[in-house]
């Protein structure tokens, strides 16, 4: 059994981020719940058009507790957890390369696979803790107000955040393995995240744009829908499956390619394509 020192170090490195994002989610979830009694009445006398609801990332009825939390919390706080995994995911390989610390790390008797998997496990745990932070916010707030959403449903809703966050984590890892440096990797993933989120919310409720929604990962997340309709397992499976494929591609590329301290010297498209194809050489 190899020592889990890389896992422990990654977790230690990220402890303040995990605490910060976790507290942020806890603050969001609890204040959302505490605001519910004051907004409930006004929402009940108010028909919000579907397209307007869609802008908030949820197509559920806001006048219900689940619908309200879907728009107010589950429709967008996953973005916070995604920000965390983009930071950690692009930092795992590209970050160490850009900071030139990778030479010393990989000069130790540890395989690249073990390094990557330990870092992956640390950040996956961190993301789970952050999402759990949001659930803790529900635990302290829901019993204090009159809200007809059971805590068990909220637990399912929170757990349902894990696959979409892992998907963007895997995408960040992969981008960090193929991009010449961390800046490009982070830029790419942030671009994909914002573009797909924007398209998803825009297309939500707009019939002509409807088909595009299926091409965005956020559709398979579903915000607060699991609170009302239960978990759509094939959506979860699709997100986790795609994540697994991305992790496998990351491992393949990272194990085969040269490591470049200070970021790759060859910034050409050719070298990036070679990395994407996980060919044996090239920086």
């Amino acid at each position: 059994m190899p020592p889990l020192n890389v896992f422990a170090k990654s977790l230690r490195d990220q402890k303040w981020q995990i605490a910060g994002f976790g507290l942020a989610l806890a603050a969001m979830s609890s204040t959302s719940v505490w605001l519910w009694p004051s907004v409930r009445d006004s929402l009940q006398n108010f028909e919000i058009p579907a397209a307007a609801r869609a802008f908030l990332g949820s197509d559920l009825d806001f006048a219900t507790g689940a619908g309200y939390l879907s728009g107010r919390y589950f429709g967008w706080t996953e973005i916070l957890a995604i920000v965390y995994v983009i930071i950690a995911g692009t930092g795992a390989i590209a970050g160490e390369e850009s900071a030139s610390t990778i030479d010393l790390l990989l000069a130790q008797p540890v395989s690249r696979r073990a390094v990557l998997l330990q870092k992956l496990a640390a950040t996956a745990l961190g993301a789970a803790l952050i999402i759990f932070g949001g659930y803790v916010g529900f635990l302290v707030s829901v019993p204090t107000v009159d809200m007809e959403v059971p805590l068990s449903d909220l637990a399912v809703g929170c757990a349902n955040m894990v696959p979409i966050v892992l998907f963007f984590f895997a995408l960040s890892l992969w981008a960090g393995a193929v991009a010449p440096n961390r800046g490009i990797a982070a830029g790419f993933v942030i671009g994909i995240t914002t573009a797909t989120y924007f398209v998803f919310t825009l297309a939500n409720g707009v019939e002509s744009l409807e088909p595009i929604r299926y091409a965005t990962p956020f559709y398979y997340y579903g915000a607060g829908r699991p609170l009302v309709y239960g978990v759509t397992w094939w959506h979860v499976g699709l997100l986790l499956g795609t994540s697994a494929v991305l992790v496998a591609l990351t491992l393949r590329t990272f194990e085969r390619r040269d490591v470049s301290a200070g970021g790759a010297t060859d910034l050409g498209l050719g070298s990036v394509l070679r990395r994407i194809a996980a060919l044996r050489t090239g920086v």
Partner: protein, 306 residues
């Protein structure tokens, strides 16, 4: 005996740039081996291949009998490595960092040896790496390489950034390693450093090993550059001596190169009234020239004397 390092026909290109054009090298165990070459000659590229950080396009490299690619973990278990462009985890304290490095080889942890190294380097481990000077970072880098008493030390420019007193400490530590039968392989672009520390030296230029020599031999072949100002212009032909080459004259100042020691040229200089005399450390280029253009040098010396 299994060589500490054996490299056969290693080539490496980055796009159109050929970094290594066919390296062959054998380093015997228990020696201090210098890897000398100007910046950009391929020293770091070759070293990073030994640690499997980059992969060669052709050829094979073994360390202590283990293949650098297929048995890379076995190689790295036995190698202490100091990167040329040393970067450490800025947010860690010195002791946390050494603990982290130690944790990769728990079976080789040796607290007493670690303390001795840290004291010898006069390192303060309670400070964050962020707050350390370049010299102290370099010392920490050396300590982490030495920590597990590796069979082979691979040090890329180990003394860069260190003041001369610490350099002497480092030399002492490396000599102690060699005395214990361990091998030290280090790169440098500074000839005097290689002369001082190592027993053997390989010279790399433009991605190729151009010479492997015992240092004693290299020294005897090394070049002195002398600039001497006389009271009056010395007679032509005064320096037409074997192993001496007159480069040029500026009035009464003569620029000379001596290839076989200083004795003959100093005696020739002393026949005239001397106002000023300066000698320079031979540059690498001078050494290369003395190595590979010896025939030409003789001819030129004769031409200059004619």
């Amino acid at each position: 005996m299994t060589p500490a390092i054996e490299i056969n026909g290693v080539e490496k290109s980055y796009g159109a740039t050929r970094a290594l054009t066919g390296i062959d090298l054998r380093v015997e165990p228990g020696r201090i081996f210098g890897f000398l070459g100007p910046n950009g000659a391929g020293k770091t590229t070759m070293i990073r291949i030994l640690l499997d950080l980059i992969r060669p396009d052709a050829g094979t490299a073994t360390v202590l009998g283990f293949d650098c690619q297929r048995q890379s973990i076995e190689v790295r278990r036995r190698v202490g490595y100091l990167p040329g462009d040393l970067r450490l985890y800025e947010g860690m304290r010195g002791d946390e960092f050494l603990d982290f490095i130690d944790s990769f080889r728990p079976e080789k942890r040796d607290a007493a040896y670690r303390r001795a190294l840290v004291e010898r380097m006069e390192l303060d481990l309670s400070r964050r790496i962020r707050a350390l000077s370049k010299g102290n970072r370099q010392k920490l880098g050396l300590v982490q390489a030495l920590l597990h008493r590796p069979e082979l030390l691979v040090l890329d420019e180990p003394t860069s950034g260190l003041d001369p007193l610490v350099q002497d400490e480092v030399v002492g530590i490396l000599e102690a390693c060699a005395a214990e039968g361990r091998t030290v392989f280090f790169s440098s672009h500074v000839l005097p450093e290689v002369e001082k520390i190592s027993q053997s030296v390989a010279i790399i230029r433009a991605g190729k090993i151009v010479a492997v020599e015992e240092v004693a031999k290299l020294k005897s072949r090394s070049v002195h550059v002398i600039e001497v100002t006389f009271a009056t212009a010395p007679p032509h032909g005064l320096f037409a001596l074997p192993g001496v080459r007159e480069l040029r004259r500026d009035g009464t100042t003569v620029h000379l190169q001596a290839h076989d020691g200083l004795d003959a040229v100093l005696k020739a200089i002393a026949t005239q009234r001397v106002l000023d005399l300066r000698t320079q450390q031979p540059s690498l280029e001078d050494v290369f020239l003395s190595f590979y253009t010896e025939g030409e040098t003789q001819e030129e010396a004769q031409r200059a004397s004619a």
